[in-house]
């Protein structure tokens, strides 16, 4: 681990203390996990502490962990935020899991970084995660009147509805999809030790 990453780790631990639910250093990147109750305060500290100074929010990404690995036991929905500090030139990743799987709600952090506005709309659109306090939580990428949240793992790849121009009616109509699901490449996971040299 480089000296810079170590400095960042020490400062994060000193500033956030018990607000860090899980701390992971892997592949030269630091990931911290926080609880929903501590989320907003953690983010505010990350931005406002001069030793950390994360002044740029790069990305907020929704994740649906329901089919991760060999059976996921944790919470289903998470929002993963990537922060960048221009002054210190370092990054951190913050993950927060929404507490209820059937009705995921997270506090909005738009007042801390205005840039997160559309990212939260996107996570709501694609995953159905609600952001409490967001003033304009509309769908953003999907069609007007779209039903469902397409990046959830239980949403089929071909979707539910398709759209075409109807010659007779002279307008665009919606109808159930006619695409037959087809598996191009099967998803495969290997058991541990697969393909290693035999002794």
């Amino acid at each position: 681990m480089s000296a810079k990453l170590e400095t960042l780790e020490n400062r994060l631990r000193a500033t956030l203390g018990a607000r860090i639910a899980r701390f992971v250093v892997a592949l030269g990147e630091i990931t911290i996990e926080t609880k929903v109750a501590d989320y907003v305060e953690t983010m505010r500290l990350l931005r406002d502490t001069p030793e950390l100074d994360f002044d740029l929010l790069v990305d907020l990404c929704g994740v649906d962990y329901s089919t991760y690995g060999d059976g996921w036991t944790g919470r289903r929905y998470a929002a993963v935020t990537h922060l960048l500090s221009l002054a210190h030139n370092w990054r951190v990743r913050v993950r927060v899991f929404a507490e209820a799987d059937d009705f995921p709600v997270l506090p909005s952090i738009v007042p801390i970084w205005n840039s997160v506005n559309w990212y939260e709309r996107e996570a709501f659109d694609l995953f159905g995660i609600l952001f409490e306090g967001h003033t304009d939580l509309r769908r953003i990428l999907t069609d007007y009147n779209f039903v469902g949240h397409p990046l959830c793992k239980d949403f089929p790849l071909a979707g539910h509805m398709e759209m075409r121009y109807d010659e007779k009616e002279g307008r665009v109509v919606y109808q159930p999809v006619s695409i037959v699901p087809r598996e191009v490449a099967p998803r495969v996971r290997h058991e541990p030790g697969y393909g290693e040299a035999h002794d």
């Binding site: 740029l56 990743r93 840039s115 559309w118 490449a185 998803r187 495969v188 996971r189």
Partner: protein
């Protein structure tokens, strides 16, 4: 009859200045913008969902189709993310090739953005000149990778192949007689690097022409100066990156600050704006083109003297050489496994970002150990920039919205994904 002043205006999605499929709902007071509400998603193809159902190698060509004007930089971010997850190093020559083509891409993107921006604002000729330069660079892409627009040249572990020794030439046809063909082929006698070097020698003169046509042009300045001013504090708060951030006077370039590929070994300068208006962003992009040309020159010089491999040798994660497959059973097995089942990537997550012509383009990949991503998030710079449209356009006139769209350098492939 009372005069109606407040009204709502639909700008796009079929407006030629909307740079693709932007639907902008503008609330106007007379001709002044009160609120701008961009409706995006008309080009949403679900790239992230597709990637979850394709092997890691199969998703790579999707990256070209995100920001279709900066295709190779998109591939670069994807390759960096996957390579970080795999923990592999790529050969030095591949790094220089990636640097070279990143800068070729930067020129391609900036030339198109400059041409389209000028066209929107009312200067017709720049587009024609910009396309003249783009033509040569697209020929370079075609010669190296086989395709002009969507080359899929970068691969996990390196680049797909080394540069060709002979630049393809024009042939005589019904439309081109011998004299024309001879003239067209004058700079195509040598290798691809010779052709590209000839271009880099020509380009500064062309670059000066663009400056002559626009930089001191009174109409151009009247349309751009003090339009869409963003302070450095607001630029950071709004998540700006790339030329948008530098135009506001923040010195930040990932190529310098967090170098990848061979950027730590080439010499270039980072231009920074002062006022944060559209004109400064234009100047930043112009200077970036000049610097890109410098970097290309340095890469050419290095590539000429350093032959070598362009793909990592670990054939569990990269395809084996065709010739080896004919005689070596293990290579045949590697080939079969690579193209059928694909590469398995250990559990983990990585975020890799590159300095894309538009800003920071990042790929956040989560793997659960399978042969395809568990989640692939594409962080596109234009998404954050367009989100700031409301703030930038407020209080400006309707015609200035066109300038702001042009100066944000919006491309819908990356915003809608």
């Amino acid at each position: 009859m009372t005069e109606i002043r407040d009204h709502t205006l639909n700008f796009g999605p079929q407006h030629p200045a909307a740079h693709g499929v932007l639907r902008l709902v503008l609330e106007m007071d007379g001709e002044v913008i009160v609120r701008a509400d961009p409706h995006i998603g008309l080009l949403h193809r679900g790239t992230e969902k597709f990637a979850e159902n394709r092997t890691w190698a199969q998703s790579l060509p999707f990256m070209d189709r995100l920001d279709y004007t900066c295709m190779m930089c998109n591939e670069h971010a994807y390759c960096l993310a996957v390579e970080r997850l795999l923990g592999i190093e790529i050969p030095e020559r591949a790094k220089y090739l990636r640097t070279l083509f990143d800068e070729v891409t930067r020129l391609l993107a900036h030339l198109l953005s400059l041409g389209a921006h000028a066209l929107d604002v009312g200067a017709m000729s720049i587009m024609l000149y910009a396309l003249r330069d783009r033509e040569d660079l697209l020929d370079v892409c075609e010669a190296a990778a086989g395709a002009r627009m969507h080359p899929a040249y970068y691969r996990i572990g390196g680049v797909s192949r080394d540069l060709p020794e002979q630049m393809p030439q024009y042939r005589e046809s019904k439309w081109k007689n011998a004299a024309t063909v001879k003239k067209f082929n004058e700079n195509r006698q040598g290798s691809l690097l010779d052709f590209l070097e000839d271009f880099t020698n020509r380009f500064p003169k062309h670059h000066a022409e663009y400056h002559t046509l626009l930089t001191d042009n009174r109409i151009w300045k009247q349309r751009l100066v003090n339009i869409g001013v963003v302070s450095p504090e607001r630029a950071k708060q709004l998540g700006f990156t790339g030329a948008m951030l530098r135009g506001s006077g923040v010195e930040w370039d990932l190529r310098k600050k967090q170098p990848y590929a061979a950027y730590d070994k080439v010499d270039f300068d980072v231009p920074v704006g002062v006022h944060g208006d559209s004109y400064d962003r234009y100047l930043v992009r112009m200077e970036e083109m000049f610097q890109a040309n410098r970097i290309i020159k340095q890469c050419i010089a290095w590539l000429r003297t350093h032959p070598g491999a362009v793909m990592a040798e670990n054939h569990k994660v990269t395809p084996p050489r065709r010739a080896d497959m004919k005689s070596n059973m293990e290579s045949l097995i590697h080939h079969f496994k690579y193209f059928s089942e694909g590469v398995h990537i250990p559990q983990g997550e990585a975020y890799a970002a590159v300095e894309h012509p538009k800003g920071e383009f990042g790929i956040y990949a989560i793997s659960d150990g399978a042969n395809m991503p568990y989640r692939l998030k594409i962080r596109s710079p234009g998404f954050a920039h367009l989100a700031a449209m409301d703030e930038m356009a407020r209080g400006h006139m309707l015609a200035d919205v066109v300038t702001i769209i042009g100066s944000q350098d919006i491309v819908f492939g990356e915003i809608d994904r």
